[in-house]
């Protein structure tokens, strides 16, 4: 068994040895955000300039995952021998040339390029576990991951821990599902472990579909091996022999990198038969979903993996009793799994030292909306929302006032100013009528009208409803119609009453989480911003003319 560790160490030392030959390393963010901002051109410019100066052997240009500050991309970090790192932001071709000339060759930071202050709260307030290597390793190279310490946890588990030990460690860490609900991960693992049968499956849920959310996408495209390692550990702990990575088709880069990672891991005996020479065999396949929000719901997700229509099914039976092809199956969110290698490698205590007692560890958030800094952050659970918005996010631009922070996507709610000091964890957010959700955090300024926010999310749910159950299929259409009417200033008192009663019915009677939580943005905006609705209403007794009647009932043919 010891041989395995040597194998990994070999890979790591060869890699580090090679790295030591370079005087500088230029790390170019090549995650989805920076790529769309032109990172590929920046990278090729860096390489071409170095080539031209014949300095290619001294400087390594590395495409990496996401450092996080997406709004200031493309991002380039220059690492020199010693501890100094310079962060360049909004790098264009000219800046890239200056970086090569002044810094990579000249050895001094390029003053012509924009340099991010080192003490930017956006970076310094983070605590990176899941994103530990995002932005520092090449996600397309197994060697980079291993050199950083990757697959050490898997190797450790296979050589020194029983499956039960692994589950105990996860339980001791208090890891909770990062997909939104916060269900204790170890409890789910135990259920699958205890389920009878030889054929079991584990699934990584990468179907992230909330508007404004890109945590899972970034984890997958910035550090795909971490997800694989987490999935392999889950399989080892639960007795599963096959794993699926379920990723939406809108994430082509994540899919490509995951597939590349699977191939590399198989070649290195980190996946496949007898992983690292042990008795544990495990294969992984990527399944590409067609981008339906409802397929993030676990029973719909399984239907989609099986090639059927992505409709949710009734639970119980739960997937751990009857899942893929009738066999026990466990579905974990990508971020949940990405936490696992760190827990096994560094121990439950180290993991639980961060965060709060009920919600240990960190959480990745996608910051979006009216903020100076938007992008991806990983913070300790329990951090006050105010710190995220005003320190890390840099506050609201253009001198506007903060109005609300939306968490939990279309299943979540809006948190007003007076609750900004609330610690961000599962329980506190739920108490405020919102939820952690998968980690989307959209900040709204004073110009935003809350009924319109509710209408936006309801439109999303309406379009994403699968149509199986009547309350969600028709209810979302009707809730949206009421909201639309209110937003257009032709809503009546009774429309608001009907909206609220319908919200209750849809919440109480819908089949799956999509419908059950679809009314949440309405409930939460009504709770905190009811005045904004009431202001828009017209009196019931105001008789409406044909124009109003027409306006109130748009279009016959759809």
């Amino acid at each position: 068994m010891a041989r395995n560790i040597i194998d990994l160490d070999d890979i790591a030392s060869v890699e580090l040895e090679a790295r030591s030959r370079y005087t500088h390393r230029a790390l170019v963010c090549s995650s989805t955000g920076c790529l769309s901002a032109g990172a590929a051109t920046v990278r090729s410019t860096l390489e071409a300039e170095l080539e031209q100066a014949d300095r290619g052997q001294d400087v390594q240009v590395v495409p990496t995952g996401c450092p996080g500050l997406c709004s200031r991309g493309p991002l380039v970090r220059v690492e020199s021998r010693g501890p100094t790192t310079t962060h360049y932001e909004q790098v264009d071709e000219d800046a890239a040339r200056a970086i090569v000339r002044d810094h990579l060759i000249g050895g001094q930071p390029a003053t012509e390029a924009r340099i991010t202050p080192e003490d930017l709260p956006f970076y310094v307030k983070q605590h990176r576990v899941v994103l530990a290597y995002a932005g520092t390793i090449d996600p397309e190279r197994l060697e980079d991951y291993v050199a950083a310490g990757g697959y050490r946890a898997l190797s450790k588990a296979l050589s020194t821990l029983s499956p039960e030990n692994v589950i105990e460690e996860i339980a001791a860490a208090g890891l909770r599902g990062r997909g939104g609900a916060g269900y204790p991960a170890a409890r789910k693992w135990k259920l699958l472990h205890d389920a009878p049968g030889d054929e079991k499956y584990v699934v990584a849920n990468g179907d992230e579909g909330d508007p404004g959310a890109f945590m899972d996408r970034t984890i997958m495209d910035s550090d795909p091996h971490r997800v694989l390692e987490g999935l392999a550990l889950a399989a080892y702990a639960t007795g599963a022999s096959l794993g699926y990575l379920y990723v939406r088709a809108e994430y082509p880069l994540a899919i490509e990198r995951l597939e590349r990672a699977i191939r590399a891991a198989k070649r290195a005996k980190l996946l496949g038969r007898n992983v690292l020479g042990s008795k544990f065999s495990f294969d992984v396949e990527v399944r590409v979903g067609a981008g339906a929000f409802v397929c993030g719901e676990e029973t719909a997700l399984m239907a989609s993996i099986e090639g059927r229509r992505g409709n949710p099914e009734l639970r119980p039976p739960y997937p751990t009793e009857r899942g893929l092809w009738g066999q026990p199956t466990m579905i974990n969110n990508v971020e949940t799994l990405a936490n696992v290698p760190a827990i096994i490698d560094q121990g439950a205590a180290a993991f639980a030292a961060v965060g709060t007692e009920a919600s240990p560890g960190t959480k990745v958030f996608a910051l979006a909306g009216s903020l100076t800094n938007t992008g991806l952050i990983e913070v300790p659970m329990g951090i006050p929302l105010r710190d995220i918005v005003f320190e890390m996010g840099g506050g609201i631009p253009k001198g506007l006032a903060f109005k609300a922070a939306q968490t939990g996507g279309p299943s979540g709610g809006c948190i007003p100013e007076r609750f900004l000091d609330t610690p961000v964890d599962y329980e506190h957010l739920r108490e405020l009528g919102s939820m952690m959700g998968s980690g989307g955090l959209v900040v709204m300024d004073e110009t935003v009208r809350m009924p319109e926010v509710a209408r936006f999310y309801m439109e999303f749910c309406r379009d994403e409803s699968c149509g199986k159950c009547a309350p969600c299929r028709v209810g979302t259409v009707k809730m949206h119609a009421f909201l639309d009417r209110i937003c257009r200033g032709v809503g009546r008192q009774r429309d608001l009453q009907h909206l609220e009663s319908l919200c209750r019915t849809v919440r109480e009677t819908s089949l799956c989480g999509l419908g059950q939580s679809a009314p949440n943005p309405v409930f939460s905006t009504l709770e905190h911003f009811r005045d904004e609705y009431v202001e828009l209403l017209v009196e019931d007794e105001v008789f409406q003319g044909p124009e109003a009647l027409a306006a109130a009932s748009p279009g016959g043919a759809r």
């Binding site: 409802v294 309350p471 019915t505």
Partner: protein
């Protein structure tokens, strides 16, 4: 449904009255057996459980969420409340939603007077619909020589889909699109009359709860469905009646 043990043994309380349920029996089955009415629409004895209409939701003691009676198996000492004001209001709203969603014009429907949706509206005191009607522009499929599909009257219960798949083995029907765009289609969305897998058995027509599927040539109120034929078939299949093991029911 598998064969039952000879005697019911699981104590279950429904609306304050104690009953003995069979192991594995659903709340709905038990309620029906002991004469407690729980409204349903998509559920049909003999077909697989779908759980889509949500009309059979009941309160089970200790659960914060309502449960569909059709899909929830009894457990020992379960306490079920089948009808509170709140549950009735939920059901009424769901029925209203179904009316608002389609173009249900009872006045000249082939199934008026024999329609489960119409009955549910009456049962739940629906004297008008609180929600705007959608007035969708649906299509009628009259391409089959014997039968007719009028999507205006469809409530997407999928009884036709399930009976065709589970009893006839033809799987002519399925649902295309999603959400409010969902609609019943034959084959891969071809005219019903052109479907080569349709055996003309007519079971889909017999189980339809509304006037969506009907025999051609029926006028207003003349289409009477016969969904019970499926429970007959299912029982016969379960008891092995066609292979002579038991007497014909």
């Amino acid at each position: 449904m598998s064969r039952r043990p000879a005697r019911p043994s699981v104590p279950v309380t429904i609306d304050g009255e104690e009953h003995l349920a069979y192991e594995g029996e659903t709340i709905l089955d038990l309620a029906r057996r002991v004469g407690v009415r729980i409204p349903t629409l998509c559920q049909l004895d003999g077909l697989s459980v779908y759980g889509g209409c949500r009309l059979c939701v009941v309160q089970t003691e200790g659960d914060h969420r309502l449960k569909p009676a059709c899909a929830t198996e009894v457990t020992g000492d379960l306490e079920v409340t089948t009808s509170t004001h709140e549950i009735r209001e939920h059901r009424r709203r769901i029925v209203e939603l179904l009316f608002a969603e389609g173009n249900h014009i009872c006045a000249f429907c082939v199934s008026t007077g024999h329609c489960e949706l119409q009955d549910l509206a009456t049962e739940h005191n629906v004297d008008h619909i609180h929600y705007d009607y959608e007035y969708p522009r649906n299509t009628v499929d009259a391409s089959h020589p014997k039968y007719l599909l009028d999507r205006d009257r469809c409530v997407l219960c999928t009884r036709c889909v399930r009976v065709c798949d589970e009893f006839e083995g033809a799987h002519v029907w399925d649902i295309a699109n999603r959400g409010s765009e969902s609609r019943i289609v034959a084959g891969l969305d071809i005219p019903w009359g052109e479907s080569e897998s349709c055996t003309w058995c007519g079971k889909c027509v017999l189980v339809c709860p509304t006037g969506a599927l009907s025999f051609k040539g029926r006028s207003t109120g003349e289409m009477v469905h016969d969904p019970e034929v499926i429970s007959f078939l299912s029982r016969a299949r379960r008891e092995g009646e066609w292979v002579g093991r038991k007497e014909q029911v």
